[in-house]
Amino acid sequence: MRVSLRWLEEYARLVLPPEALAQRLTVSSAEVESVERLGGWGPEVQVARVLRVEPHPNADRLRLVTVDLGGEDRPRVVCGAPNVAEGQKVVFGRVGARIVDGHTGKPAVLKSTSIRGVVSAGMVLSERELGISDEHEGIVVLPQDAPVGAPLDEYAGDVIFEVYVAPNRPDMASVLGVARELAALTGQPLREPPSAIVPSGAARTGRVTVRIADADLCFRYVGVLVEGVRVGPSPDWMQRRLQSAGMRPINNVVDITNYVMLELGQPLHAFDRRQLRSGSVVIRRSRAGEAIRTLDGTDRVLANGTLLICDGDRPVAVAGVMGGEDTEVSPDTTDVFLESATFAPSSVRRTGAALRLRTEASRRFERGLPPELAMAGARRAAHLLVELAGGVVREPVEDACPQPRAPVRLGVSLARVERVLGIPVGRDESAEVLERLGFTVEAADEGVLRLTVPYWRPDVRIEDDVAEEIVRMVGYDRLPSQTLAGRVPAPDEDPVRDLRERLRLRFAAAGLREVMTYSLQSTDGWTAAGDTGDLTPLRVANPVSSEHEYLRLSLAPGLLRTLAPVLRLRRARVGLFECGRRYLPRRDELPDERETVCGVLAGERPDRWGSPSGESLDFSDARGVVEQVLSGLVDGLDLEAAELPGLLPGQAARIRAGADVIGRIGRVDPRVAGKFDIAVPVYLVEVDVADALAARAGPGAYRPLSRFPAVRQDVALVVARDLAAGELRRAILETPLVVSARVFDVYEGAPLPHGKKSVAFALELQAPDRTLSEDEAQRALRRMIERLRRQFGAELRGG
């Protein structure tokens, strides 16, 4: 909300400079988001009256203007503005005034100049020259109440606070509310604006009765009939204040309703009495299909149950949101029916949302206004209608309030306040600061304050609310910084998180860079990787853009999209990974959020200098990553060739830990990679953290080291080409005395027969309890080869 300090000053003396006031409000009441200064023109810029306008002897478009500055001095200057006229109040800049150059837009100092032979000692200024706007067609014409000779700073200078109004503080959406806070914070008295009215006589146009049909949505409706008003422009001071708050002046009646809304926070509406034909105002819910043309000229069909103000049965306003066009105040209106009501906040909010119409009024109602304010607003507006529009208030003031409420009383224990704040605040000090805020302290005994909450503070309902009032008034600086005492609770365990964090570190240690990509993807995004089978992702109803519409089922698309530009930048090995969630939909439940670690690898192995070596990464690099990140974390790590969606058949596998599948690995199908503009082989490694957790290895048990030497022996076995080396190795490791078997070569081609390959193993044989003899080792190997021959048709190469 924009709050003018000039306006504020009417209700409370401002004893601090604007920046200090803004700081006090921000710390204790409501954030001042910006401080805007109007003015600073200096003493050389003054209000002046145009005495004479004469033609310039040497130029048709220029004129000579003589101005009155209230003293002896009556300067005559050359003026080119088409709108200058005798009798006007204008802004005059003397020589030496700091202005904005009308042509260049740059700061300048006014000098005495001769224009076409006539000396001009000063200037009548435009808005552009005052730095207010870009308007340079004509000069500024001030209202007639501007005092001749006064510095413009004095007359029009102001400071505007942009105050953030929290949803729980309806009072702060008003100048008086902000003034009340400032007065309390600086210990100044508050001057409330006058609102006395003297209703006299019965209505000439007939009484307008008020009936609330739906009391659950309308808590109070105050109606005041003001007859005999003269519609015209409102006074300059009121127009200026409306403008300072960002509102456009319309006419005195409408301006008064807006002015009181800004001043007190109570929205009002003025009906043309003549257009309320039935003389009976009914507040009720709408029926199916009802419609209204609102003030902005829009025909609106109302949702069933919208709260309406009706003239008899005819809707004339959408309650709390906007009035209807055909009952609005017009230039020839003479009698006004003023509405000041309290509507249920949720109803106004729903209606505003349904109509996509949020107004200054509806925003205030949404926060929940106190019914007491409806009467205060009605009286203040009626007072101004009498003062400024010449009306007469008629009897009776209509006041429908089906369930009047009592003021809120609270017993606040000072012990509770201390419990919440951590420091004691004394009884007298507490009472004092609360009274400054408008609380009535009825009694303070036995450590309990008995309070009445002021009606404009609907946010204060419990003791802890009062604790907040106290601490924001005595200052947060009084709180000591202390650390938690008491018992440190035993933590909840989160083994999935623990394992994920280990994997995160291990992926980085394996030479992959961590990235973070968005959880939401485009339609193309989630289908492009082709790796999610028949699953359909959750869609969001209001995506921030079509790029982010579906909750991801796979981390692959985000990673491939991130990888592509990197590969355009460099050819040497790139590894990226992400730790994040996949969101697997479940019927009528929150999705299963699967913690996943996924990596992609591409490019050429670097040479000694880190330059691309020309040798592309291959499946073995990806497998190397799997082995490094999972070794010791899961038991029985192994790969099982499989056809998996999105991965190239023949270069894809499930990652297994014993019987459990815990992830996948493979080369991304080149057609998929192509969709991401990647032309080189890309390998993907993915681990599902919860699945890996199920296969989590124990802490590991120590096995005594053998004191006896091992016999090392290399064997090359010729087997069918399609026999998996892993299967052969498993069989080898079943051989007694063989303690390790490492593949060190695989060979195909001549002189081996077609369809065969040779797999070479480096074996270690060892006995736990003795030095193995060469004979014993050879016997074991012969038995092993014999068994492999029977099992796989394996032959010893060169044997």
């Binding site: 919440v420 609770p489 959750l538 991130t562």
Partner: protein, 351 residues
């Protein structure tokens, strides 16, 4: 005494030859030639038997003396040669230590991961444990149970991305959490006080992206509930946190703020580590950097999970990790974090 002369000649000749031997092979050759089994001196010694006894004694003594001299000379020469060879080898194998190392694959952790780890470590050391919760949430947890019922104007504080899922009653109850605060309720539902927990996680807002706003962000929620937890404890706990992250001499300032699920509610600022409170570019000339929102858990939130709100009090806070990282590293655009420009990632190498 030709034999004696012979011994002396052999000795002098061998010493001269030894001086010429400049490598290991020449030394070896010399040793075999002079001192070996068939060497010159050995031959002399072998031939002693054929000499008369008097001469034998004299020549024998001379030959033995010569042998000792040559042995010693050899040892000295060998040491010299070895040292010289070592010197040459060292010279040959000298490396340019300023050349780049043979590259290992360069892995790294995201700067947000590292910032988060530091933040969590700070709270762990104060006795907090770490929990995580669902990113896709029910309206009930994200709003209603935090005292933000439907049609409440406070909902405007949280522009929400809703999941396209409608119940038969026409309600749309599923959303992407707008903050980590629903985990306050989830943690309290499954445990009794005392509680000290921090909850990191992704959150989402329906928001246009610019240099200071992202629609996806990482938040850390904090919650401490016990008998006697107060606003002063909140201040002290967060001050200790700020000191760990931004430097020991930091001070914090509380100011009033409104969040429906706390009472009192505050915002916490830390004095600027760059200008120490005098005002600069980092803090926007105010001397203070706004860090997070916090407050005392509203007693109705406590009562809603079945806690005795007269007996227990608690504080809660929520902070954006991106903001911590922006401030800490002087990054000027929040969009850097999730656009993953590799040049950005490479500015934060390692783990």
């Amino acid at each position: 005494m030709a034999a004696i002369r012979n011994v002396e000649e052999i000795r002098d000749g061998a010493l001269a030859a030894l001086a010429q031997a400049s490598d290991r092979a020449a030394l070896q050759e010399w040793r075999v030639r002079v001192l070996g089994r068939k060497g010159e001196l050995t031959t002399v010694l072998r031939s002693l038997g054929s000499l008369p006894e008097a001469e034998r004694r004299v020549v024998g003594a001379a030959a033995n003396a010569a042998r000792d001299v040559l042995d010693a000379a050899y040892t000295e020469r060998a040491a010299r040669v070895e040292q010289e060879e070592l010197r040459q080898a060292t010279e040959r194998e000298r490396v340019d230590v300023t050349l780049p190392g043979r590259p290992l694959p360069a892995g790294s952790l995201h700067v947000i991961t590292r910032t988060l780890a530091d933040v969590l470590d700070a709270f762990r050391s104060l006795g907090f444990w770490v929990a995580e919760g669902p990113e896709v949430e029910w309206d009930e947890y994200n709003f209603t149970r935090l005292r933000i019922p439907e049609d409440h104007p406070a909902r405007d504080m949280f522009d929400t991305i809703w999941v396209d899922y409608t119940r038969p009653d026409g309600r749309r109850p599923m959303l992407l959490r707008t903050h980590t605060s629903p985990m306050q309720v989830r943690v309290m539902e499954r445990r009794q006080p005392p509680i000290r927990v921090v909850v990191p996680g992704r959150c989402y807002r329906f928001e246009a992206t610019d240099a200071t706003h992202e629609w996806m962000f990482l938040q850390v929620e904090g919650l401490a509930v016990d008998e006697g937890v107060s606003l002063a404890d909140l201040k002290g706990t967060l001050e200790e946190f700020a000191r760990r992250i931004f430097g020991r001499e930091r001070r914090v300032m509380l100011r009033h703020a409104y969040f429906p699920f706390v009472e009192p509610g505050v915002e916490l600022a830390v004095d600027c580590f760059a200008c120490h409170g005098t005002g600069c570019r980092v803090c926007g000339a105010t001397g203070w950097i706004e860090l997070l929102g916090a407050g005392m858990v509203h007693p109705e939130v406590l009562a809603d999970v079945g806690y005795d709100a007269r007996r227990y009090t608690g504080f809660a806070f929520g902070m954006g990790i991106e903001r911590v990282a922006l401030i800490r590293h002087g990054i000027d655009d929040i969009r850097m974090f999730y656009s993953n420009d590799v040049r950005f990632l490479e500015q934060f190498p390692g783990v």
